[in-house]
Amino acid sequence: MKLYDIILKKLGMSSDASASANVARDRLQIIVAHHKNNTFPENDQTVTKIKQDILKVLSKYYPSADFSNVNIQLEKDGEQAMLQIDLTIPESEVVT
């Protein structure tokens, strides 16, 4: 970092994009927007149960896969719901 930048930062005069408050704000905008989009008529518990059931089905077909890194998103966009699943199926399980 240049000396000038260091001095400015110390004087509290630089608007550092990585300033912690900006990080907090960006995180909140995602959390709150996600919450607003994800308002199903059912409550959050139902969505969690849906996710758990999906994992059970996947484990049935890929019994030795590790699903600790799976990402399941169930979101609502107006009248339509969108289900997105990101997971890695291990090579040994892929049937060619």
Partner: protein, 278 residues
């Protein structure tokens, strides 16, 4: 014909953000401005309001005694010694989570409406029984929020509950009037980019801002003494609570205590040389 009494819930979701301080302060301000005000502690099991109001030795009967018919409302209400318009209804020390049944609370609120202009409900933290009972009959909600990530998310959650689980929501009436109150605001830290700004919080929660209470040592001193901070004229927190109360009553009041201290270039250099790097 007496104007219809207004029920105000002071809530947040998050604990420790200043609900009880706010309930005591706003109730005191309203009373000092001539409004007959009662403030009710809705915690179930942990009393706090009586300490902040300084009437802990005068508590004989509480809200649950009244609900169970063991005491009349008059016997449980405690009149503040400093202001004749101000009354307190203490919480119960019971561990029974279902103690605050809807019908029981409704009866009390209806009776209070005939005697008071404002009924301030001090909600406990969380979204359990006490918190839900406190917000259920509200006409107005003051959502107390610290400029801090957990508090903002919890406030957002509480806003969702106010819009869906209140009496007004369940009966298709005009919605609860929501107001944001930012507490423990520190303009210097905001300027340094360490704290969410009031603009950030307002834009994330999207409800009207009724007040900004700056971080102030006077709040701890006040609760030590059992004196709502509003009675301390020197305190910037007290002045901010007055401004907020005036806005609640419909007045347009400019926001104070929101700007960082303007220091000269030289003193900033001295500060920078003598303080640690974050």
């Amino acid at each position: 014909m007496k104007k219809e009494a207004q029920v105000i819930v002071v809530t947040s979701g998050k604990g420790g953000v200043g609900k009880t301080t706010t309930s005591a302060s706003i109730a005191s301000c309203l009373a000092l401005m001539g409004q007959k005000t009662v403030v009710i502690d809705f915690d179930v099991g942990l009393r706090n309001l009586d300490l902040v109001m300084g009437c802990e030795r005068r508590v004989v009967y509480d809200i649950v005694h009244v609900i169970h018919g063991e005491a009349h409302l008059n016997q449980a209400l405690i009149r503040d010694k400093r202001c004749e318009n101000l009354y307190i209804l203490p919480a119960s020390q019971t561990k029974d989570k279902d103690a605050l049944a809807k019908e029981g609370v409704k009866k009390i609120i209806d009776e209070l409406k005939s005697r008071f202009d404002y009924i301030v409900c001090d909600s406990p933290a969380g979204i359990e029984n006490g918190a839900m009972s406190a917000l259920y009959f509200a006409d107005i909600a003051i959502v107390v929020t610290n400029p801090e990530i957990s508090s903002v998310r919890d406030s957002d959650r509480i806003l969702g509950l106010l819009a869906s689980k209140s009496f007004r929501a369940e009966n298709d009436l005009a919605p609860v009037k929501e107001h944001l109150l930012i507490t423990r605001y520190h303009p210097d830290r905001v300027q340094r980019g360490e704290m969410l700004s009031m603009e950030d919080v307002v834009s994330i929660l999207s409800i009207p801002l009724v007040g900004i209470i700056p971080e102030s040592e006077s709040v701890l001193k006040a609760s030590n003494q059992g004196l709502p901070v509003s009675f301390d004229n020197e305190s910037i927190a007290a002045q901010a609570y007055y401004d907020a109360t005036r806005r609640l009553l419909g007045e347009e009041v400019p926001f104070r205590f929101t700007e960082a201290k303007k220091t000269g270039f030289f003193s900033r250099i001295m500060d920078a040389l003598t303080t640690e790097t974050a």
